[in-house]
Amino acid sequence: MNGQIRRALTVAEQVPDPELPMLTLADLGVVRGVEIDADGTVTAILTPTYSGCPAMAEMHAEVARRLHDAGFAHVRTRTQLDPAWSSDWITPQGRRKLADNGIAPPGDAPRRPAGPVPLTLGATRRTVPCPHCGSPNTEELSHFGATACRSLRRCRACLEPFEHVKEI
């Protein structure tokens, strides 16, 4: 049984992310685990990145499809909302793949003290090195990009625009 769980987990983890196909779901950190019932039903557990992420349905479908293809006859998937996904869950390998593909990986997610979420105005933004030339001299063009998880930036040194996976 443990061998089957490991095999099913590997299948689920190797599914590519629909929006960032250079990443597997394991790289993205959204696969929470796999369970196998006494009757052999496999359940893969996924956590959404953003509440409105339109890729979640396809992730569930693709995980189920690949588990079927791998020979598991009865497959389910389950959403796990708690704890909420954090960009800190993107693996070191996932971060390398993002950078190799011209997307700046996220820094550490904000650590919030107890009490209300503070609002900082006009504060210096975090440094995001350019994934093309490595210069730390980059600026944010838009905090919201082509998908919920990315922002748009530009390098002031090589002038190339690039995307950045946001810290959350």
């Binding site: 509440s51 499809r65 497959v75 998937t77 905090h143 919201f144 990009g145």
Partner: protein, 300 residues
Amino acid sequence: MSRTSSPDDDHVYLSLAEGHEDGDARWAFGTGFEDPLHGVSAALPPGIDGRALAAQCLALADDALVSAQRLGEWCTRAPELEIELALANIGLDLIGQARLLYSRTGQVDGTGRSEDAYAYFRDAAEFRNVRLAELPNGDFAFSITRLLALSAWRLALFERLAGAPDPVLSAIAAKGVKELAYHRQFAAEWAVRLGDGTDESHRRMQRALYHVAPYVPELFASLDDADHTRDGDGDAVSAIQDDVLAVLRQVTATAGLVLPPLDSPADAAGYGRAGHHTEHLSPLLAELQSVARAHPGAVW
């Protein structure tokens, strides 16, 4: 939104798998896994009043859906492409929150309705959103000021709801806090840029603040009913109010703007939450619901 998923994933999979043997399938239409609470336990923990929880989830979902519709109206009309992206993304986060909250409503109100039933097949008087969310977009200054007030309020509220006794609402709120912090940041930065910008942008921001201010007490009045984490917890209500006022004072002071008085008029209590709306909600819903009502039962 979506049709509800089949109770048996196996059948969903089998119908989808046909014709997608290349290992890299993409589906243009429904994947069959579109229930946002897919697989989440629907159980109601002992001691929780399902009707009260449903009313709470429905109101918070309505706030998000109506806000998202207004934000979406900025597409192709925003001052810059980047702003359009931002407003659409904020709307998308809110639709995600609305979908989860409608689904939870259907689980606990005893009707078993899907998210679509709540979004598309209720009339204005059945919506429970606060009126500030439904007002027309106005100019960019008004939309930014409204977004600032609504996101600051929803963030403060969700921070408390992350400790709610219902595990599903608690998880939705904890997730939403991260998103709402970005929404508030976006609105606050634009409020400062416009308020501290040209004479014209300053004038419009100040005008927007006077326009939004009369609707802010309703946000706090709504908390007295069901929105806070524990019934009768006046401390939580006043703490949320303090957080919102602190943010509005911080932003207006930085932007060189005057924060109008936010005295609570007696008749502000529960207007939107009681189903009493402005004349602007019905036309908004007519557009939002037109396709679903023209093709009842259609799936996509």
